[in-house]
């Protein structure tokens, strides 16, 4: 069996025995800055905009809904099951379909939608990153298939950095099969190093902070 063969070779190469404890690992190194929420929002917006994303600071749930309605005007949209979206009234908008719990139907809807609307579990201020854990509230494909992605996020969910995320969530695998960090619109520079957006993932992203 290749498993035993390979493990045996590894042990022989290292001079270790089966079941031998490992040498202690170096300590975990996470540095979490202190930052006020308002500063976090500022940083988040600056980073997202630097990556050609759009941001909006909503004054209320209704304000957020208005922004989204304008952004998706004339397009079809699929929204996730995140409670925040329903609270803001976004799922009730006429061109928004939501309430998908089954993968085939979801995929079909996303493949033809002009826009995907989600919330985010966390947001990272220093890099302008959306953190999305797959769950019954958030499917993977909504933020991936449609050419536009709108994320409506609660300001309380904005963390300073990846280090803070990892200190809050030391074992993401215990929560979900998929945690994705999204930093800006999809891009490539594979041909002559010329930047093109929206290769496979969304080419346009909006972050709405509520």
């Amino acid at each position: 069996m290749s498993r035993d063969h390979i493990l045996h070779k590894v042990r022989t190469a290292l001079g270790r025995n089966a079941g031998q404890a490992p040498e202690p690992a170096p300590p975990v190194r996470l540095t979490i800055p202190t930052q006020e929420t308002s500063a976090r929002i500022d940083s988040l917006c600056a980073r997202v905009e630097a990556l050609a994303g759009k941001t909006y600071r909503a004054e209320s749930d209704a304000d957020a809904c208005r922004y989204v309605a304008a952004a998706i005007e004339g397009k079809s949209a699929v929204a996730s099951n995140a409670p925040l979206l329903a609270e803001c009234g976004i799922t009730a908008l006429p061109n928004v379909r939501s309430g998908f719990y089954e993968s085939a139907a979801l995929r079909e809807a996303c493949a033809s939608a002009g826009c995907g609307i989600t919330s985010a579990d966390y947001v990272l201020a220093d890099t302008g990153t959306l953190v999305m854990l797959a769950s019954p509230q958030e499917a993977r494909l909504i933020s991936l298939l449609p050419p536009v992605h709108i994320a409506v996020v609660a300001s309380a969910r904005i963390l300073t950095s990846l280090d803070e995320l990892l200190s809050l969530l030391p074992r993401p695998a215990e929560q979900t099969s998929s945690m994705v960090l999204i930093t800006g619109p999809s891009r490539t520079a594979d041909i002559e190093q010329i930047l093109v957006r929206g290769v496979h993932g969304p080419g346009e992203i909006h972050v709405v902070v509520v």
Partner: protein, 472 residues
């Protein structure tokens, strides 16, 4: 060096368009990395490198433990781990799974490991289509070519070559606008993503305490590859392990910045197992293929084991003045640049291309930028010694060995050394101080000829230093 190596180098140096493409692309990547690290952008960069090196050392030095921990956690989350000792076993696994499931179409995200095992080629004759989805890799696949650079596989292709390629292979009208070319590829590949049976990815990291893989990308094709099809297979070398998810704080800070100057790439996916419980989408089956293919050989060498710390950022390629002249295709294996130069002889044996460890001026630019502090020049020097030992065993390189023996003997006998110096100087043509463009036949030995092919020679001085000193 082998004729093939010499020929490829010569060809690349003679292609001025290619020289420009290589130099300009690497210059851009150099500048981006520098910008990402300057001033306050990452003030603890050097500390992070030291820490990353220590983390990799711990994982690699205790690899059996972490492999088993990784495996147990993958299984706990509903996935399966397959150990493959070589390229054949990887292909056999995929083929047998595809056969069992009646799969016809595979979509692939960028993976140097799958290049290493000739993945696409091995699946070719089995009624299985395997499509590369990273834009650069897709173009390379269409062109039946090899990747030019770890991070920028189509670095050597111009938009005009891409236009002709797409027209030839897809039958589309000739399109030279890069954005439009990208959209053509996007729509072709979208269809593949949505109908594929299996998604095959590599893994930038394997996380032992989570049974997870981490994929880092900018396009979104890796996300689609691992989320749309019902089956996800990740193929990764055993050395990709890191021990804890929390260590990603260190590694991700270094990887993006070192590779492309990005604090984080557009998408970082942390995937552990098939979709769970009430999750709406994602694969139903999740496999991680752990590949040896010679890595256990590298593990056994205590000095060179650090070659396995590599996180495939490509910074060493970008900064290497030799890579910047000879490009990725001059290298004899899929891994090019300084990292390629040190792992190729270790995987394939020093006699595969004995000149490879010598294709370096030992300038050390690579070691300076390696995020995990692999001492590449030191390993090159060790490999050079290995080549000479091997040459001795195989009866090769006699002339050079004898030359150095004589040289060493002379250098231990100062008067002989001085005499030899005077004798050599007497052969040189007289000069008014100008440097020499040519020398008399008696002096025109191969090294002298090689020197003169590129630059002039210094005229030997009338008196050596020691003669001048004596006369003071």
């Amino acid at each position: 060096m082998s004729a093939a190596f010499d020929e490829k180098i010569h060809e690349t140096l003679g292609d001025s368009k290619l020289q420009f493409a290589i130099y300009a692309s690497t210059a851009r990547l150099i500048a981006k990395r520098e910008h990402a690290l300057e001033g306050d952008n990452l003030p603890d960069y050097q500390e992070l490198r030291t820490h990353a090196n220590a983390l990799k050392k711990n994982t690699i030095d205790n690899l059996d433990y972490y492999l088993e921990q990784f495996e147990a956690n993958v299984v706990a989350h509903g996935g399966k781990v397959i150990y493959a000792k070589d390229a054949t076993e990887v292909a056999d696994f995929v083929l047998s799974l595809a056969k069992e499931r009646g799969s016809r179409l595979i979509v692939k995200s960028k993976s140097m490991t799958t290049e290493e095992v000739d993945f696409n080629k091995r699946l070719e004759h089995h009624n299985l289509e395997s499509v590369e989805t990273d834009l650069g890799e897709y173009l390379i696949q269409l062109a039946h070519d090899r990747p030019y650079h770890i991070v920028a596989p189509a670095l050597h292709m111009t938009r005009f070559q891409v236009a002709d390629l797409l027209t030839e292979k897809l039958g589309v009208p000739n399109e030279t606008v890069i954005e439009k070319q990208t959209m053509i590829a996007r729509s072709v590949l979208r269809e593949k993503f949505l109908t594929a049976d299996i998604g095959v990815s590599g893994a930038n990291f394997l996380i032992a305490d989570s049974g997870a893989i981490v994929l880092v990308e900018n396009e979104g094709n890796a996300r689609l590859t691992t989320s749309a099809p019902k089956i996800h297979i990740a193929v990764a070398g055993i050395e990709k392990l890191i021990s804890r998810a929390q260590d990603l704080g260190v590694f991700l800070k270094l990887l993006g910045r070192s590779a492309t100057g990005q604090a984080l790439t557009v998408y970082t996916s942390f995937l552990s197992g098939p979709r769970r419980g009430q999750e709406i989408d994602g694969p139903d089956e999740f496999y991680v293929v752990l590949l040896d293919n010679g890595r256990t050989k590298l593990l056994a060498d205590r000095e060179k084991r650090q070659s396995l710390y590599c996180i495939r950022c490509g910074a060493c390629l970008n900064h290497c003045p030799v890579y910047r002249k000879i490009g990725g295709h001059s290298f004899p294996w899929v891994y090019s640049g300084p990292i390629g130069a040190i792992i190729t002889p270790q995987f394939l044996g020093v006699q595969h291309e004995p000149a490879l460890p010598f294709a370096s001026s030992l300038c050390g630019a690579c070691a300076e930028v390696c995020p995990v502090k692999i001492d590449i020049p030191k390993i090159l020097l060790e490999l050079r010694a290995d080549v000479q030992k091997s040459n001795l065993r195989e009866g090769k390189g006699k002339m050079e060995r004898i030359t150095f023996r004589i040289w060493a003997w002379m250098m231990r006998h100062p008067r002989l050394y001085e005499f030899a110096g005077m004798a050599a100087a007497s052969f040189a043509p007289s000069s008014n101080g100008g440097w020499l463009r040519e020398v008399p036949a008696a002096m025109n030995l191969p090294p002298v000829r090689a020197w003169l092919s590129q630059r002039d020679l210094p005229p030997p001085p009338a008196k050596s230093f020691r003669q001048l000193w004596r006369e003071r």
